[in-house]
């Protein structure tokens, strides 16, 4: 089946992935354009370096292209899968780094903050959901938010965090669990 260029952008991710399976580069292009911004944003937030973030995103999308037949919708959305790959690759990159000083704060002078307006209702809705998630995180008790951010965005293990904060490892794990459970309860319907 052939799609007009504009029509392809109306397809759902799962339909696009079928075309990607068949080697349709235009379908892959739509998937990339749909999910590259959150993927790059996550990688950049974690690494703090544009070049490293670009490498991670490039590898994540190339693995989607090469392994598209292995994608199983029953295990989650395309977006979740891409972001999961980006997150895991960023953690690997961070843990290979000798020095961690340079990744604490993203360098806003290098990567360009996105200020373009939302093009679709779905994008606007996603942006609202993202705002709610950030608010839920910000409203956690500081000690819970800190361990979650260090683990998820910093790529630190719980024992590293325990050393950094001079806490017993069990306390760190406990704060992680309390914080995530609280966010789960607050967000509820956002996470579908």
């Amino acid at each position: 089946m052939r799609f007009r260029p504009g029509a392809m952008r109306n397809l759902a991710d799962e339909e696009l992935m079928q075309l990607v399976h068949d080697g349709d580069v235009r379908a892959f292009e739509v998937v990339f354009d749909r999910h590259a911004t959150p993927a790059f944003s996550l990688a950049y937030r974690m690494c703090g370096r544009r070049a490293a973030a670009e490498d991670i995103v490039q590898e994540a999308f190339l693995s989607l292209w090469r392994s598209s037949r292995g994608y199983d919708p029953a295990r989650g959305s395309v977006r979740t899968w891409v972001l999961s790959v980006v997150h895991n690759r960023a953690i690997d990159a961070l843990r290979r780094q000798g020095s961690r000083d340079s990744r604490d704060v993203p360098d806003d002078g290098i990567a360009e903050r996105l200020s373009a307006p939302d093009r679709t209702d779905a994008e606007a809705e996603r942006r609202d959901d993202a705002r709610r998630v950030r608010t839920a995180l910000d409203e956690l008790p500081p000690e819970q938010r800190r361990v979650i951010e260090l683990a998820y965005f910093g790529g630190f293990t719980h024992t590293q965090i325990a050393e950094m904060l001079d806490l017993p490892p069990g306390t760190v794990k406990g704060r992680m669990r309390l914080g995530l459970t609280k966010m789960r309860n607050v967000l509820g319907e956002v996470m579908v």
């Binding site: 068949d22 080697g23 580069v25 892959f28 990339f32 354009d33 590259a36 911004t37 959150p38 790059f40 944003s41 950049y44 937030r45 670009e54 995103v57 490039q58 994540a60 999308f61 693995s63 292209w65 090469r66 392994s67 037949r69 292995g70 994608y71 199983d72 977006r79 979740t80 972001l83 999961s84 790959v85 997150h87 895991n88 690997d92 993203p106 903050r113 996105l114 373009a116 996603r126 942006r127 959901d129 993202a130 705002r131 998630v133 995180l137 979650i148 683990a151 998820y152 293990t157 719980h158 069990g170 760190v172 992680m176 669990r177 914080g179 995530l180 459970t181 966010m183 789960r184 996470m191």
Partner: protein, 225 residues
């Protein structure tokens, strides 16, 4: 297998669920928890719930503009990497099978399926190997190769199958191919670059983003001799 409620060293299993979904367990702890997870419904439920939170965290970062050069590079690479072709005519093949079971009491039984390609990497055709818990085919034609697996176990959250190639006796190198199997245990993946000069195609179970070097014993070894 560890039962529900207690993990190891007297720890309650739920203590590790949040650290696990955040990717914050030390690698040996993560491996222990993954094995426990396969048989603990309480932890499966907690992990599934907490993964929704971490999934939303991933999507909640402040947005940065994707560099145009990155988009151009990715699409250029994709156009230069055509997808592997579908299956081709097969012929009878009597494989040599080796079974390797590792990980005492592991929930995920690691079985190495060894497939020996006798005609060399320059040949064409399909070789199929069958085992009681799974099977694999390596299809080669025109310098391209596809690996098709059937009835392999689905992996728990946070784990994925990763493909490697070995040249001679050198250390296996990652192909960048990561895949999950369907509910029936099937997957079909291309071997990037084909098998020219390759002595073996391997598959291991790795963390979801893949790793630069294998961390587990291979579940599939397709030797190209």
């Amino acid at each position: 297998m560890t039962g529900e409620g207690v993990l190891g060293n007297g720890r309650e299993c739920g203590e590790d669920a949040a650290a696990y979904v955040l990717g914050a367990l030390e690698p040996p702890e993560a491996e222990t928890f993954r094995r426990h997870l396969a048989g603990c419904t309480a932890c499966q439920k907690e992990v599934a719930e907490l993964e929704q939170v971490t999934g939303s965290l991933a999507d909640a970062s402040i947005r940065y503009q994707v560099p145009r050069e990155l988009r151009r590079r990715v699409l250029h690479e994709v156009r230069a990497t055509p997808k592997a072709q579908a299956s081709r005519p097969a012929w009878s093949w009597s494989p040599r099978i080796a079974w390797v079971v590792t990980g005492a009491a592991a929930a995920i039984v690691v079985i190495a399926i060894v497939l020996v390609i006798a005609l060399g990497s320059g040949g064409s055709g399909t070789r199929t190997i069958h085992a009681s818990t799974g099977s694999a085919e390596l299809q080669i034609a025109d310098g391209r190769a596809d690996l098709i697996v059937h009835r392999l176990p689905a992996l728990p959250a946070g784990r994925i199958y990763e493909m490697w190639v070995q040249r001679g006796n050198a250390t296996p190198t990652p192909t960048g191919t990561l895949f999950a199997v369907t509910s029936s245990g099937t997957a079909a993946v291309g071997v990037p670059g084909g098998v020219s000069g390759v002595s073996a195609v391997m598959v291991t179970q790795e963390p979801a983003g893949g790793t630069p070097a294998p961390t587990t014993a291979p579940v599939i070894v397709a030797r190209v001799t």
